[in-house]
Symmetry: C2
Subunit: 632 residues, 2 copies
Amino acid sequence: MLDDTATVPVDPPGGPRGLGLGEFRLDGGFWGGLQDTNTAATLRHCLDWMERLGWIANFDRVARSDTGGERPGWQFSDSEIYKLMEALAWEHGRTGEAWADEALTALTERVAAAQDDDGYLNTCYGHAGQADRYTDLSSGHELYCTGHLLQAAVARLRTVGEDKLVEVARRAADEVCRTFGPDGRDGICGHPEIEVGLAEFGRALREPRYTEQARLFIERRGRGTLRPVTLLDASYFQDDIPVREADAWRGHAVRALYLAAGAVDVAVDTRDTGLLDAVARQWGSSVERRTYLTGGMGSRHQDEGFGEDWELPPDRAYCETCAGIASNMVSWRLYLATGDVKYADLMERTFYNVIAASPSEDGKAFFYANPLHQRSAAAAMRPDDVNPRAEGGVRAPWFDVSCCPTNLARTLASWQAYAASVDGDQVTLLQYANGDMRIAVGGAALALRITTAYPKTGAIRIEVLAAPPGPVELRLRVPNWAEGATLTADSTTAAVEPGWAIVHAPLRPGATVVLDLPVAPRFTWPDDRIDAVRGCVAVERGPLVLCVESIDLPEGHVIESLRVDPAHPPRLEADGAVVRASSGPGLATSGLPYRSAMRPRAVVPETDLRLIPYHRWAGRGSTAMRVFLPVA
Amino acid sequence: MLDDTATVPVDPPGGPRGLGLGEFRLDGGFWGGLQDTNTAATLRHCLDWMERLGWIANFDRVARSDTGGERPGWQFSDSEIYKLMEALAWEHGRTGEAWADEALTALTERVAAAQDDDGYLNTCYGHAGQADRYTDLSSGHELYCTGHLLQAAVARLRTVGEDKLVEVARRAADEVCRTFGPDGRDGICGHPEIEVGLAEFGRALREPRYTEQARLFIERRGRGTLRPVTLLDASYFQDDIPVREADAWRGHAVRALYLAAGAVDVAVDTRDTGLLDAVARQWGSSVERRTYLTGGMGSRHQDEGFGEDWELPPDRAYCETCAGIASNMVSWRLYLATGDVKYADLMERTFYNVIAASPSEDGKAFFYANPLHQRSAAAAMRPDDVNPRAEGGVRAPWFDVSCCPTNLARTLASWQAYAASVDGDQVTLLQYANGDMRIAVGGAALALRITTAYPKTGAIRIEVLAAPPGPVELRLRVPNWAEGATLTADSTTAAVEPGWAIVHAPLRPGATVVLDLPVAPRFTWPDDRIDAVRGCVAVERGPLVLCVESIDLPEGHVIESLRVDPAHPPRLEADGAVVRASSGPGLATSGLPYRSAMRPRAVVPETDLRLIPYHRWAGRGSTAMRVFLPVA
């Protein structure tokens, strides 16, 4: 194992660093539980599915020059293997588990055997019976796949060091630089990802050619060079406006966000403040006008894309799990680049309400889309079913386009990285989870035991087990929703405002700090320009968005006619809340549903209505569900 | 010219008949104007575009066995030529115009030359270098194209009689019957249309084999035999549930509606009341829960489809022009089958607010999608631009998938058919337009001069110019929105309720009847289960839905923050209305747009706000627009 502090997915020069995976051992609780399930079930689930479907065997077929027949999987299926490899690398780095190392090594052998002599590596193009290399940059996804290979190699390099995977990735990256370099082809990939892969691989190997190639791809984008895809325009793949000129994210959400993440990397590495400011500006306007309460991004199914300002329909929200992951990739890079707490705030929201919503309790089924309103219960799926669509309402074992399960696997395997940051002698806790931190500060260790049931309860107790001899500044993030938080240190309790709470008490072994965040349920109101939820209110509890499921409706109530009484604030119940609500008796009118005067329909009298955390919806079977509730 | 009474697109056995094209001569006004523009511009515009793009030349290439190269147009482009041929046939039948006849004859020659010896006729399949016939029933659209050929032949048969087009169609229909008949292949087409084509062609030729083949296609549907299309399920092409078992329309709207139209034809011809009741039930539930205020159908861009109950987002409304035409195809058939006024009511709404909205004033550009809310002005198009997408906001000269212009052309060319119905000695006026009717009742003529500026004004004056010697019952449709209408006959004015107003006065030459419909602007409220327009009101005027365009906003007002004052009823202004409205000053908040308490933003004081008829929006250039306005 290498230096713990270096085992991070993102390691820009200067500024704060994220937490090395070995610096924080989770012990149960919300994120420990999700990570344990990832370890116990999801990683192997992904491996088994991709073996069964022949997506891994595609590499074997290239290796033995057997590429004439029909190839299982989409043209981008290689990327799923790479994302799983990245997950396995982090998993092994974090836990030392031999099976993760063995599985990764076995995959590496099969992938390596498919690499062409000049470094090109793709199972869908460039071999007998296949289309030529790079003949379809708009939809071919070759550079996208390579980007994921590089990210897997970064994980391996930072947890184990140079090995065969790193060598394979280096040869692939070199081939990309030769083909698309300053003197090469003036092309970009329809699906960004190569940028973020090259940038980090360049950092990990201290190879400026890779950073420069990432920069070239960023600069070339937005000039309309990609051949349009049927019924979509250039904004779909962000080829409509140069990155540094755009005001908001648009088009396919995952593409827009992977591109933005790569742009931050390039901006930081090349000290390009104009580019950094552009992405920060896009983050600001997109969060203000194109983001769901859950942190979810992507309003449209049609192009899996952002909509226009204020176009945020709860029922047709796409909010792809991968877009949540990608949003956190951007926010994390912007946090490291700027230190602004707002980026960590959005990450918390997205972690709890998009990323944590995706996996089933057993880690073997996943949400792809994460709508905030499900009008009718979806059909259930069997454990061996592949979901051909990305509709919401049911967690599926696998998908025809199955980007989310492996993306989730790599994110959960490396979750620690985002929990805190270290900048010189300043340590900042960003996300709260139960476990033990042992952070390298200067040459010594700051050991903290964090005890919390967060977000179920709001108390986060931090006990200092060991401290470096020199000064350490400990900062705690007070989330932007946490009005009324308190910090207790040195037996003194003080109110703290959203933002940074700085612990002024000396950090001696035995010292204890308690941050108390108010997690009582609360009403949350949408901006009145979001047409789709006008006249509605949501209920949140701490970082959790809550929802109503049809399974919890009292007798006689129907989900399409609920009316919440805003005079009764929500009160705590179990993990969720209870509000007072009335509702219509059912579907009473007939004919065209527009009238010169609406007759009030009979109403079911006010009663208690239960809400549960959004991330657990559909956990008791398929249901109808809504986050935003009309106000009486 | 044949018997005028037979020149109708739909001629079921028994019950009322529609108006023959020669029985109603429009004289300017709303529909006369649209029809004149169709004559003067749209027909030739369609012909020129399809010649320029090579879609017509595809037939020539098949005729000379030159099918190896790349073929311009989608696999269904033949259908556009057939829809134009249908339009030309009605046009010639209605006007006697030689150029329409010549253009149709020339097209017929080119189409006929491409027909295979066994009657198969398609320029995309079945020839050298092409995929085999009927190898892709899900997406190939071969039977869909044939269905449109048969509808064109019906128009020719009923306006001119047997000719080469009819013969071509007969051979094509026979090939379909041989291939897919009771002893043939158990297949259906992914896009319904062959059903309605075969049924009417069977009626026109008195050929029961065609009716039977239409019946077979209807019965086979909904049994999951179509291979799924990527990312869509069987409901997309209505292959999920048998027609007689479904409760609502779902999936691709045009497909669902063409199928329903064919099912009514089959039900009527085979006296299958179960099937007729099923379609009537689907109409009822779909109109109640899946239809826009404009009559538009299809809530989703993704699959051009219906959404779920109450899923009616105004901004992402697809409301394809073709779906409006198809909806009227269904409603018209249900009206003829049942005589229920509600079908004619919906047709009026759809005629004025979907179909009339599509063409530009010059008849050379068209809306494909007809949303009820355009958030930002679309980019303008040049007269030689093909629109690759079906987004709303701008009328385009032509589309990559260009189904709407030719569909509009055939509908406007035959608009008279839907204006009245005749059943024995009962004559029913359904749609009001300025012009002269000369209707065959029994063996004699009822001649009516209709004078009206409807819908600009509400008075419809009907003067009897000639009447048959025997009794005639004249009925007038009083639209379902027309509370407070009056009927003046024999110098007596009486209130009439929505539904049928029966003229009891004797219909002697010189007698005059005046129907007065209240077309003052009025507020219209949506059912409170339509989440997307909660807290909003619309303004209507007679049959017209009105809208606000950004170009008409008073200084300081912004379209996303308008607030209408419901205490001030709308008042008439020009063709539209004026309401009182305030609005926010612009985009003031920042950060995630959800708050525990919203700060009220500064408001621009109440002022007059102008609304115009929806069907004319974007007529003064690209604008933002909305139909539903938030209430203060």
